[in-house]
Amino acid sequence: MHISEGVLTAPVLIGGAVLTAVGTTVGLKKLDYDRIMTVSLLSAAFFVASLIHVPVGPGSVHLLLGGLLGLLLGWGAFPAIVVALLLQAVFFQYGGIVVLGVNGFNIGGPAVLCGLSLRPLLKGSKKQGMTAGFLAGCCSMLLSALLMAGALFFSDQGFLHAAVILLTSHLPVMLIEGLITMFVVGFLARVQPEILSLDTRK
């Protein structure tokens, strides 16, 4: 899910950096400072989740947990994801510093979008909450894959080719991600409901 250094052209890189800067600023502004530790822990979970990989066909894909962060943190997911991506670039050489903007937007954008749009469901019944979890995990990854394909397309890396590979290789992991997000949300609803509800007052 991380685009490597040197693949994208300058306009795409700059566009991604601007969008990510905006998203991070909004995220930090909307961040509830009482929840800073939750943000940090989920950011750590995201940081580590990328190491869990699922071999698919010629490539391999890994978990993202973007949907989970979006659901639990709303806009706060954006800075959490960007910081975790920065650390991944530094420690694991996943992605890179120059492409941080594009990767941040590709993963953070869908996470926030899915999180905000699905969060009202969390207030509903348990089933609705679980559905919201599954959809958030699934859709955020789908949108991230599409954004990635778009970024590659604008850098002339062959959209159709990349999009087909990205979507087919991410289908299984989308399901896994959806299921994991669903179970985490269901689990939190049972044992730590305040984590789910804290942010919904906004």
Binding site: M37, L41, L51, A151, F187
Partner: protein, 209 residues
Amino acid sequence: MPLPSILANKKLFLLLACLFLFPSQGLAHKIRVFAWVSGDTVTVESGFADNRPLIKGEITVIDNKKGTVLLQGIGDENGIFTFAVPDQARAEASDLLIIVSGGEGHQNQWLIPATEYLPQGDGSTPETMPSLPPAASPASSAEVDNSKLKQLIAEVLEEQLAPIRRSLAKAEEKKPTINDILGGIGYLIGLAGLAAWLKNRRPKGQQDK
């Protein structure tokens, strides 16, 4: 604060612990490239960091001096791609930059310096050496033999050394270690602490005014 309550909750703690224990599976998300020269051909081997080959990766060879594309190709099922050193590069003694792309935004590169594929000491000396003493025939033939021998030894050595260099390249490949992971998590928690501190500092600053 949510942290103590999370830690106090055994189930949630176990869940988080599971997340942190998974990374022992390693990573497969960075393309590993290794290329070596034997004689006139360059062999490029590409794969993922967990030793699975990169099937049908796109390989681009670039003249590192001028930035022009020398040749392009597609690796085979084992992630192997071989090509002859282009004459153009040989003529200009330019370094070969090999870029391997996985087609989904992953790519990596490997640089072959010109000295690796040019015959040893090719710059100016070997060409002038045989032509310098044309009169002294026994000495010159001995020197030619010497240089041929040198070249032969270099070729054989290169063949012998290739696997060793390959395993060296593999050993040098940086995999995320537990240190990296714990370091990253430490950073994140430290950042949270920093943010909390900055937040708590603000009202005091206002009071001072």
